[in-house]
């Protein structure tokens, strides 16, 4: 793990924040749509490591932040759709808050230190 990361991977821990935010904006999405959404909205700045997305989704579902159901896409493929629970919404608020505080703090340090 000595080489610099080849691309701007999403930081561990921010993934769940991004997922929550994405799902808060749309009613329900499948995993692939979540990655595409994050990539598109961040204008390719952020890229979800696909290998860690699904474990994260399942963990969040176990924590009761998400619920999932099987459905059919426009292309007539079967996919698992995720949506936010009430608990997930509260979690989003908390994580947004702490993220903002973190960036603000880091920003100040960068400015004045």
């Amino acid at each position: 793990m000595s080489a610099p990361p080849p691309r701007n991977d999403v930081l561990q821990g921010t993934l769940s924040l991004l997922v929550l935010k994405t799902l808060a904006a749309s009613r329900r999405l499948h995993g692939y749509a979540i990655t595409s959404h994050i990539q598109r909205v961040s204008e390719d700045l952020l890229r979800v490591e696909e290998g860690s997305l699904y474990p994260a989704l399942h963990r969040m579902e176990q924590l009761g932040l998400l619920r999932s159901e099987w459905g059919v896409t426009d292309k007539n493929r079967e996919a698992r759709f995720y949506s936010l629970t009430a608990k997930g919404r509260r979690q989003l608020a908390r994580e947004e808050e702490s993220w903002n505080r973190l960036t603000e703090g880091v920003g100040r340090v960068l400015r004045y230190a």
Partner: protein, 881 residues
């Protein structure tokens, strides 16, 4: 996510896995579509899409790990895996399983005894309401109750549902070819009401049958019905022949009913209204009562004391001097057994704890040795939880194997306990049953947790260093500290156990060296069946016993024969009575308290108790009811009595003593004359110093006195001849309770010896476990520090320095542990008080001996790895690392 869902996920893990695959397939398909749209070939698009997702199998696995709790699905996998990995180290697995089998087995066996004897209620309905009633007489050991008083207690109290009493005697049943000794209990009315038990067949006694001159009737035990009557269905029309009487059987008690003791086979109604039962001084019955629901023991005690106070006003003589004593029946039956069992249970639990810590230390060491394997697992994606689960699974598997084997050990041990502990209360109830099974399972799981936790936590912590690949050469100290702490704990606990065992061993030795004041070897003892009904014609009873003594003395090989009334010398019994000296000057009412033994005149010569002064007493003629006819009985006193109470007089011989409280000698108020003084003997038990003792010379204070026969050779060789001769002499009676006196005395201390033996076994096992732990830990340390050792030797350290270094490390821990163990032993010294003889609980010699022994064992266990370290070839070690 509820546990329920997790569990169902586990059960349906196939389905979950398929769903995850479908979800990932969908993702790959979407990504491939996009890549194809960007102009890649379909194959290339597919390949890249998969590549970006990572290894799909691993991906599915990781996703599933989240989905499914490791504890359940993983358990089966982990157990399979653990079995394979243990299979590769069979020596390790066997050692651990065998250690645990012994630990769990011994623990379960002792617990089953504890459970049967102490924890489980007596086998009667609402047994916690059963109470032992005794009468308490000042300065007298007498606890038996007169029939009239028992009836009054029953009538006048308001806290008992019923009060009843019983007595036990050994009689001969003569309806078969040979007379057979039968233990018979005679019971007062309301026996079945008190016990709350109904006969399995037939009925209990009627009111008529409890009346004087009423019809005869007997209840028999289930065992008697089965063995002696062949389970005959017409048992209720059979009769027993006891003495001259033929008695119809009216019922059979259920198999679980074994009371007053397990040898009682026949119950007879006792007539409390018989004219001869009206004396308030007679002491016939052992009392037992059943409390009314909701009544506490204190309330009952207060109630019955009030009843007795009323009786004292009504019949000042003798009731003024009599009080009541109430105790839970269970406590009364179990007696001193409770402490012994708790002690054993404590010891055996400490042993199990040592075994657990030992195994924990072994597993920690094994965990470190397996670091490379664990590192590989981690890098292949096994989570920390999975690694810890693996370690726990191994421990669980070992514990399960140990527990299963332990159950076998416990089964064998309880069977041995039942066979060996025949004299112990409730011992036949000691079995491996559902409760014991449950206990064994729980302790097995506990063992798995206790011994697996430390290694599992270690495995979790290890992790950080592993990923970086520097497989912990530099950071062994944490695990080492834990291991050394475990080893130190083992040694300390072993020292404590060994101290207890050592003290008990020294007591047993001291007891064996005791000079009891009589010759205990070469004496055959036995009893002969008889009935209290014989006491109606006391002179005939005394003549019969005298005839038996004369016949015994005439046997070849017999040097002397005598009787002693209620107990054998040297066995723990006391018969405290009070006397008044007739010739006392001044305060004539001064009371002398002494042990009272009732023996035949030949007793002193037979037992080798020397006559110091005066002459031997003689058997005086006896009145019809046991009272002396004419003058009082002859008495003898021991030296202690003469020195303590008669020193004012020129000679003890010729003085007269009057019995104060009436014991078995009904109306013995006629003073007896002291004929001589004999040497002090440890009559009350060989562990007690002789107390002032008065001997009354009467050969038959009971119909079944103990016969003591001095023989020139092995006393047991004479048993056949004695039995044959007795059969000629008394064809209607049976000989029982046969044994050599020294063995009977040993037997009386059997419980203590068994305790000693078991503690020795437990503490030596503990020490060997601790030694193994010490050896293993030090070996492991040496292994870890090879490089350092090599380096130091390359820099000129001598081999002796290396040995000293490691030996010192081991012995430092042992030294601390010894101090801790001795401290613990001193803190717990009260535990053994009362079980020790001739040695104090803080005996320095024992403590030093134990510490020396532990030090030697520890030195040997540490020397081997230390020397191995010194033999290392420095060049090779350095090259290899």
């Amino acid at each position: 996510m509820s546990w329920l869902t997790r569990l169902s996920n586990t059960v349906r893990s196939g389905r979950v896995e398929r769903e995850i695959r479908r979800e990932l397939e969908f993702h790959v398909a979407e990504r491939a579509d996009e890549l194809r749209d960007a102009g890649l070939s379909p194959e290339e698009a597919e390949r890249r899409a998969r590549g970006r997702l990572g290894n799909p199998l691993l991906q599915a696995e990781r996703t599933r790990d989240v989905d499914i709790a490791l504890w359940a699905d993983g358990l089966a996998r982990n157990l399979r895996h653990a079995a394979r990995s243990l299979g590769r180290a069979p020596g390790f697995a066997l050692t651990v399983a065998a250690t645990l089998a012994l630990g769990i087995g011994a623990n379960t066996a002792v617990f089953s005894a504890l459970d049967a004897v102490l924890l489980r209620p007596l086998p009667f309905p609402d047994a916690d309401r059963l109470v032992r009633l005794s009468q308490k007489e000042q300065a007298s050991a007498e606890t038996m109750i007169a029939p009239v008083r028992l009836e009054e207690w029953n009538r006048l109290n308001s806290t008992f549902r019923a009060v009843s009493g019983y007595g036990v005697e050994d009689v001969s049943e003569t309806s078969g070819d040979l007379p057979e000794r039968v233990r018979r209990a005679f019971v007062t009315p309301r026996m079945l009401e008190v016990w709350g038990v109904a006969p399995a067949l037939g009925r209990g006694f009627s009111e008529e049958e409890h009346r004087f001159g009423g019809p005869a009737a007997a209840l028999v035990s289930e065992r008697y019905w089965r063995r002696r009557l062949g389970s005959a269905p017409d048992v209720l029309s059979r009769r027993l022949r006891i003495g001259d009487a033929s008695v119809p059987i009216v019922g059979v008690m259920p198999a679980s009913f074994r009371f007053p003791d397990r040898d009682v086979d026949v119950w007879f109604p006792s007539a409390v209204d018989a004219p001869y039962a009206q004396s308030r001084r007679s002491t016939w019955y052992t009392g037992v009562g059943r409390l009314r629901p909701g009544v506490t023991l204190e309330e009952a005690r207060a109630d019955l004391s009030a009843v007795q106070a009323r009786l004292a006003r009504q019949f000042p003589d003798p009731d003024r001097k009599i009080g009541v004593d109430l105790r839970p029946l269970k406590q009364d039956l179990v007696g001193g057994m409770g402490r012994t069992l708790w002690l054993l249970f404590g010891a055996v639990s400490v042993l199990l704890l040592i075994a657990c810590t030992n195994i924990a230390a072994l597993l920690v060491a094994r965990g470190m040795a397996r670091r490379p394997e664990i590192a590989v697992r981690r890098s292949l994606g096994a989570s920390r939880a999975a690694i810890a689960g693996l370690v726990l699974a191994e421990t669980l598997l070992l514990a399960l194997a140990g527990g299963a084997l332990g159950l076998l050990v416990a089964g064998v041990a309880t069977a041995a306990f039942r066979a060996l502990g025949t004299g112990l209360p409730r011992v036949d109830e000691v079995v491996v049953n559902g409760r014991i099974l449950l206990y064994c399972s729980v302790s097995t799981l506990g063992v798995a947790l206790v011994s697996g936790l430390a290694p599992a936590v270690r495995a979790l912590r290890e992790d950080a260093g592993l990923a970086t690949g520097e497989s912990g050469r530099t950071q062994v100290s944490g695990g080492q500290r834990l291991q050394w702490a475990l080893v130190g704990g083992q040694v300390a606990l072993s020292v404590t156990l060994l101290t207890g065992a050592g003290l008990l061993v020294r007591s047993v030795h001291a007891l064996a060296r005791v000079e009891p004041g009589f010759e205990k070897t070469g004496v055959l003892t036995f009893r002969m069946s008889g009935s209290w009904s014989e006491s109606a014609d006391y002179p005939a009873l005394v003549a019969r016993v005298g005839r038996t003594i004369d016949t015994l003395r005439a046997l070849p090989g017999v040097e002397g024969a005598a009787t002693t009334g209620w107990s054998l010398p040297g066995t723990p019994t006391e018969w405290e009575s009070s006397f008044a000296l007739v010739e006392a000057s001044g305060d004539a009412d001064r009371r002398i308290i002494a042990d009272l033994r009732v023996v035949s005149p030949e007793y002193f010569a037979t037992m080798g108790i020397p006559l110091l002064q005066g002459e031997r007493c003689e058997q005086r003629s006896v009145g019809t009811r046991g009272a002396p006819a004419g003058q009082g009985y002859d008495l003898m006193v021991n030296r202690a009595f003469a020195a303590r109470h008669l020193s004012d007089h020129a000679s003890a011989v010729g003085l007269h003593l009057r019995a104060y409280a009436e014991g078995a000698l009904e109306d013995a108020s006629r003073p007896g004359r002291i004929m001589g003084v004999v040497g002090d003997a440890r009559e009350q038990g060989i562990d007690r110093l002789p107390v002032p003792t008065v001997y009354t010379c009467l050969s038959a204070p009971t119909p079944t006195p103990f016969f003591v026969v001095r023989t020139s050779g092995d006393p047991l060789a004479l048993v056949g001849a004695v039995r044959a001769r007795m059969k000629e002499l008394e064809p209607q009676r049976s000989v029982y309770d046969v044994g050599a006196l020294d063995e009977r005395i040993d037997g009386a201390y059997g419980q203590r010896r068994l305790l000693t033996l078991l503690l020795v076994v437990f503490s030596l096992s503990a020490l060997s476990l601790a030694a193994v732990g010490l050896y293993g830990t030090l070996s492991y340390t040496v292994g870890q520090r090879q490089r350092e050792v090599g380096l130091r030797m390359a820099l000129g350290a001598r081999r002796a320095d290396i040995v000293r270094q490691f030996l010192g490390q081991g012995l430092r821990v042992v030294g601390l542990a010894c101090a801790g163990g001795v401290g613990l032993a001193l803190a717990l010294r009260r535990v053994l008080a009362g079980l020790l003889y001739g040695v104090s609980a803080t005996d320095a010699a024992t403590l030093l001996g134990v510490v020396a022994m532990v030090a030697v064992v520890a030195a040997v266990a540490s020397l081997v790895p230390a020397v191995r370290a010194a033999r290392l070839d420095p060049m090779r070690v350095l090259r290899e690392s």
